[in-house]
């Protein structure tokens, strides 16, 4: 079997770094939204800078992805699975960028100050103060987070499927 070309090193580093951040973020988000303490405030305070870091990295990563040549999806993969792979990757990128923006936007619409670091570094609002919009975006933030978590599960399942069942070298391109 000829070994497939791997993703470039930068892509792999970004992938695994962001994998840890995004999983941490999803767990922090769900835990804090279903808790009232004693770590609630600490987690909310961590959630904001982590989200902004993911947003910045996701944009850099999208640029990197569009510029670099990447290993092709194996030709012998059924058409439906190939399409699912392409679509899920587009959705993953979309959500990595959309979720932090929705979070930032919802706090803006809710009229909250948005501390990024400590109490003095604040993010500017990106939407006008509008409570109805705040309520909608708060709801969307949860729904999109659940969709992202589902996609991450499918992504991990697919990676393991390539590595353990098909053994087609796809998993090795990212490790």
């Amino acid at each position: 079997m000829t070994r497939m070309a791997s993703f470039p090193l930068l892509s792999r580093v970004l992938h695994w770094f962001m994998a840890v951040m995004i999983l941490a973020m999803l767990f922090i988000g769900l835990f804090m939204a279903s808790s009232v303490g004693p770590n609630y405030h600490r987690l909310v305070t961590l959630h904001r800078p982590l989200g902004i870091a993911i947003l910045v990295l996701a944009i850099l990563r999208l640029g990197n992805r569009l510029r670099s040549s990447i290993p092709p999806i194996p030709n012998d993969l059924p058409r439906l699975l190939r399409r699912a792979a392409t679509a899920s990757h587009i959705l993953l990128y979309g959500l990595m960028i959309a979720l932090p923006l929705v979070g930032w936007g919802m706090l803006s619409a809710g009229g909250f100050p948005i501390p990024l670091w400590g109490q003095s570094v604040l993010l500017p609002p990106i939407l006008p103060h509008n409570p109805v919009l705040w309520s909608w975006l708060r709801f969307a933030h949860s729904i999109l987070a659940f969709v992202l978590f589902g996609l991450v599960l499918a992504h991990i399942g697919a990676a393991l499927f390539h590595g353990l069942i098909r053994r087609d070298g796809v998993l090795r391109t990212m490790v």
Binding site: S35, G37, H41, G111, P131, V132, L164, D168
Partner: protein, 361 residues
């Protein structure tokens, strides 16, 4: 691609491997969401308990539902400036938006002299970060942590037969929470003033002031009225008499309060709002609040925000009082729920306020 044929048992094991990763993560996710911790006090649980305790919903705050917007300004005395770098303790004429409310879940409840009253404020210095605070008129909060809050709300569940909380449940809460007894008694025997304008409001929770040099001071604060204080006469007026009186008072002249900081002594308990502090603690008059304008919540500036006690500027930090986080989390959830609902008119309508304005002119 050629592979050696795999034994079925090995293949099954590999499929198990494919399923195990996502399944383990999904289970961990459910744990994070509280699915395996039925005892956890969640935001949804508090909202559910408030609903069962008769909170009206329909676009109104889940607690302190009956209220009115006010506005004015704050002038620092400068006497607290050495304790905190927050702009509000240094500047003059800091714009303030506020809200007076009754601590009820029903926005159309008739006013009653014995209902807990609250004053919530948003200080907005033009070039510095804002500060929000919500204060109540009893001297202490007879709740110590999230569990107490949840147990208390649950004990206030409306009995469908009487339309009121069952006295047995209320009594049982007292018996199972003996550590709250002295706070509850203190509040039950508190002095009750005639209305909002001559009432004293307490921060309840403790906070930490941070000076420019980093020195930290644990404090609680109190808004003490400059209006002459009259005791409530025990008689209940008409349906909205407390709010009508407030509207009349504020149209007559601006209402003023001293913001008094109480500095924690070595014996004062910082992380428990049910414990009263020593009466001989040092106090500092940090400045004067002036409220000169009143508006209905319908379209008023205090409706589309929360008075989240953790919206703090540099110079004021939260203490380790657990109730602060309960309030912050619950206010945010209540705010997201009510903002998505269709809201009916407030009991204190723009028309009601208009009648006083036309009287004045």
């Amino acid at each position: 691609m050629l592979q050696k044929p795999t034994r079925p048992a090995m293949l099954a094991l590999r499929w198990l491997g494919v399923g195990a990763g996502p399944t383990a993560l999904a289970l961990a996710f459910l744990w994070a969401g509280g699915c395996f911790s039925p005892a956890r006090v969640t935001q949804n649980r508090l909202m559910g308990e408030l609903h069962n305790a008769g909170s009206y919903g329909h676009g109104f705050r889940r607690a302190h539902a009956k209220g009115v917007c006010v506005s004015g300004w704050f002038d620092a005395s400068g006497d607290a400036a050495h304790l905190s770098q927050a702009a509000v303790f240094h500047e003059q004429h800091v714009p303030v938006i506020g809200r007076f409310a009754l601590a009820v879940g029903q926005p159309y409840m008739p006013d009653s002299g014995t209902t807990v009253r609250s004053m919530a404020l948003r200080f907005m210095p033009p070039d510095a970060q804002e500060w929000r605070t919500g204060m109540n008129d009893p001297p202490v909060l007879p709740l110590r942590d999230a569990r107490d809050v949840s147990d208390f709300f649950a004990s206030q569940q409306i009995d469908p037969a009487t339309g009121k909380p069952s006295p047995a449940r209320t009594k049982a809460f007292g018996l199972t929470h003996p550590w709250l007894k002295s706070a509850a008694e203190k509040n039950a025997h508190r002095f009750i003033s005639s209305g909002f304008a001559d009432d004293t409001f307490h921060s309840l929770d403790s906070f930490v002031l941070v000076a420019a040099d980093g020195t930290k001071t644990a404090v609680r604060w109190t808004m003490i009225p400059m209006q002459p204080v009259k005791p409530g006469d025990g008689k209940t007026g008409d349906h909205d008499y407390l709010f009508r009186t407030l509207i009349g008072d504020i149209h007559e002249r601006p209402l003023q309060w001293h913001l008094v900081m109480t500095l924690a002594d070595a014996h004062d308990v910082i992380n428990d709002p049910s414990q009263i502090w020593a009466l001989n603690d040092q106090t500092i008059d940090a400045g004067t609040l002036t409220l000169n304008s009143i508006e209905s919540e319908d379209g008023g500036p205090c409706t589309g925000i929360t008075f989240d006690p953790l919206v703090l500027p540099p110079g004021i930090q939260p203490s380790d009082d657990p109730i602060l986080q309960v309030r912050s989390a619950a206010y945010m959830r209540s705010f997201s729920l009510r903002s998505g609902e269709k809201r009916s008119p407030s009991a204190v309508t723009p028309n009601l306020i208009q009648t006083y304005e036309s009287k004045k002119s």
